[in-house]
């Protein structure tokens, strides 16, 4: 997985976002065992405590779970993954709509443009 970080946001929230994208896009498959915190931190080039914090947040959101001895896994609940994907798609759509509105397009024009593209 490719890791990219912006300067103006906490590293932790960017890790949450990028791992989440990995899960909804299938780069991390449902039920897949994740590498150890240290290995994931090394791969991303970040502090292990920050990676740990990000994984805990994803646990809280139900996208990953840990098993005391076996490690951490991506959820097998495809509905949760689908919901997350939907939420990310909404954010993207919203951002796109706002950007188009600043160019002076209204909703109907945006839809027309998208259909033209397709």
């Amino acid at each position: 997985m490719e890791w990219n970080f912006r300067n103006d946001l906490p590293v932790y929230s960017q890790l949450v976002e990028q791992i989440k994208r990995g899960i909804v896009s299938g780069a991390f498959a449902p039920g897949e065992r994740l590498s150890s915190v240290r290995d994931m931190a090394m791969e991303a080039g970040v502090n292990p405590n920050t990676m740990q914090r990000a994984l805990q947040e994803l646990e809280r959101q139900g996208l990953v779970y840990s098993q005391r001895t076996a490690g951490r896994f991506v959820t097998e609940d495809t509905q949760t993954i689908e919901d997350s994907k939907r939420a990310l798609a909404r954010e993207q759509t919203e951002a796109f709509r706002k950007a188009m509105e600043t160019l002076g397009y209204d909703r109907a024009e945006i839809v027309a443009l998208l259909q033209e593209e397709a």
């Binding site: 300067n7 103006d8 906490p10 590293v11 502090n47 405590n49």
Partner: protein, 231 residues
Amino acid sequence: MPILECRELSKRFGKTAALDNVSLKLEPGRVIGLLGPNGSGKTTLIKLCNGLLTPSEGEILIDGEAPGPKTKAVVSYLSDKEYLPDWMSTRQLMDFFEDFYKDFDRQRAEEMLLRLGLDEKQKVKTMSKGTREKVQLILVMSRRAKLYLLDEPIGGVDPATRDYILDTIIRNYNPEAAVLISTHLIADVEQVLDEVIFIQNGQILLQSDVDSIREEKGMSVDQYFREVFKC
């Protein structure tokens, strides 16, 4: 208990105060950046912590003890200068470290050397600057210390070596040890840090979590540093 505590610590050289009334605490399990411009007191602070200098005023406690033989056994120090005797081979250096430090983990050092493809028989004399820096870091990070003091570990190395050094620091992360990294190259290290300390003219300007700075200021620690230390 903090692994390192400074209480109203000052160090003067003649009339110049290199450190001026510094109080701080470092907790185990954290990687901390000691950030400041040249001449701000970074090296003085580190040398006080490992007993190479003695305080003019105030005190330092490492794992509850004043710097001395007991604390030297738990502090692993990377000097900003090259100090390895150049007639020695890497293997001899490992023997040397093994004799000197009870907590030296030879197997760990050998693994790291192997990963780099370094020959244990190579003498320091024939090593490139980058290789010498890597060997020095491997020796220092192979100790099972409680406090690592790394003085400018990434100054003057190429980007690949720098990545290797940061990778080594993450690889050897230990929740019971603290790592203090002094540098003025913040952008390169900020992602591996939990926390930063800004130091200027021998005084602590700020001690804060990296992500708190990014969250509150909406900029990287590097950008924030440039703002605070604008000339």
